[in-house]
């Protein structure tokens, strides 16, 4: 059973449907006992970092998710859920994240040249860092396949944690990981078969 963590942000319908399409059992929940009992965790999220982090803390889910992840349970953060895994974000002030993946969250505008539209919306190709083994999360997909992005902020200073990037006037962080903790900036649940293959790989971790 995979727990999709519900802490009051965003619509989890598509995410639940995508896992159903690949035959994975999920429960959408904010209940600590279900989260502790699940084999894997998915942290979704849309909206502003500060608001989402506050909601996660309000319910005490920040500590729980962190404990579970540090104990070795596979965790996948998606979009804002990925950004929450970093140390901190500079979206409208400084906000602390969960600190599970080294790095920070900064405006895309700090990196890309003028003339590029923000948010970065649409299908973009994934590139894997050279000279490193491909992350197990991408074992069912190929370099250069496209996934769907919608974001105005992105992971920065990920260093060795970077497992995929996307070119948008600059190399933007598309995915990062440390040990059993994975984060993807794009929406696998909106990325057609490529996205489903990424979720499949997560399910078999």
């Amino acid at each position: 059973m995979i727990a999709i963590i519900d802490y009051g942000v965003g619509n989890l319908f598509s995410l639940k449907s995508s896992f159903a399409a690949i035959g994975a059992d999920t429960v959408v929940t904010g209940d600590p006992s279900l989260i502790c009992g699940a084999e894997k965790l998915v942290l979704p999220g849309v909206g502003a970092f500060g608001d989402a982090a506050a909601l996660l803390r309000r319910d005490g889910l920040d500590k729980l998710v962190k404990e579970e992840a540090l104990a070795g349970k596979p965790l996948l953060g998606i979009c804002l859920g990925m950004q929450l895994l970093f140390d901190y974000s500079l979206e409208y002030g400084r906000h602390e994240g969960l600190g599970l993946i080294p790095g920070s969250v900064r405006p895309i505008g700090d990196y890309i040249p003028a003339g590029y539209k923000i948010p970065h919306i649409g299908w973009n190709a994934l590139h894997f860092p050279a000279g490193k083994p491909v992350s197990p999360l991408f074992r069912h997909i190929r370099e250069g396949e496209c996934v769907y992005f919608v974001h105005s902020f992105c992971g920065a200073e990920c260093g060795e944690s970077l497992i995929a990037s996307a070119e948008y006037g600059a190399e933007l962080t598309a995915a990062a990981a440390r040990d059993n903790v994975y984060g993807v900036q794009f929406h696998p649940e909106k990325s057609g078969n490529v996205g489903l293959n990424i979720l499949r790989a997560f399910c078999s971790l």
Partner: protein
């Protein structure tokens, strides 16, 4: 680099796709769920669903169909038609829509755009505009292109984006249905004033029209069409392959 998007548009009335669909090899061409899956499988980058139902029962039926479509396809889904209030946004987003397109509802009440953008984010609000040349001006038309609002389209789009519309669908009434190519002049005028994605609609008749669109106006992000896809005059996989071969960045 981000790819250009190809978007088929389905008009749904009383739970069925209308406006002529003529596919070979698809058992029930009027089933929105089957057609949506067909397009998703053949490489459409996004789908647009328009609810052209007037009655309350029709609307409930549409909501049911939308839920079924959203749980069947895993590409971005934009929903429009009958969106007049923030509650309407809520209704379709809960069914699995990713973006909501407003047209007449925003003309009647321009505060709908900022209210929805504040609640769901700019990326969720698509402003769809039907425009036509009148007295040397691009004029906004309402009620499916039947009523001249007197508004200048460029100004209307500019203010819509300033208020939080995250994407523009520009449908040129002048080129719509003529199949002689997109309205490059009108699209350029819009691209010049906004920095959000612009989706071209109206006038596509063949693959070359998409080539001309993306080569002439690199700022246009997507091409939308209905009947040429529904009637199989242009197949999406062939279109995308030809565009890619012509140097246009596509998701294949």
């Amino acid at each position: 680099m981000i790819t250009k998007r190809i978007i088929p548009c389905l008009d749904v009335k009383d739970g069925r796709v209308v406006k002529g669909v003529n596919f070979l090899g698809l058992a029930d061409v009027s089933s929105p769920v089957k057609l949506a899956k067909f397009y998703s499988d053949c490489g459409a980058d996004e789908l647009v669903f328009y609810d052209i139902t007037a009655s309350a029962e029709g609307r409930a039926l549409f909501t049911g169909i939308l839920t079924e479509v959203a749980s069947t396809i895993f590409i971005p889904l934009t929903v429009g038609g009958g969106i007049n209030t923030v509650d309407d946004f809520d209704r379709v987003l809960k069914c699995g829509a990713d973006k909501v397109s407003v047209n007449s509802g925003a003309l009647r009440d321009p505060s709908l755009i900022p209210a929805a953008a504040k609640k769901y984010g700019d990326q969720c609000v698509v402003l769809s505009v039907d425009a036509k040349r009148v007295d040397g001006q691009f004029r906004v038309f309402a009620k499916g292109g039947r009523e001249d609002t007197g508004l200048d389209a460029i100004q209307w789009i500019k203010s819509g984006v300033a208020n939080g519309a995250g994407e523009i669908v520009l449908n040129s009434i002048d080129t719509d249905g003529v199949k002689n190519g997109f309205d490059l002049e009108m699209l350029e005028a819009v691209c010049d004033v906004v920095d959000v994605p612009v989706i071209a609609s109206g006038g596509a008749g063949c693959v070359d029209h998409f080539k001309t669109l993306f080569h002439t106006l690199p700022k246009v992000d997507a091409g939308l069409a209905a009947s040429i896809f529904h009637f199989g005059e242009v197949s999406i996989p062939d279109l995308k392959r030809e565009l890619a071969a012509d140097g246009i960045n596509m998701r294949l």
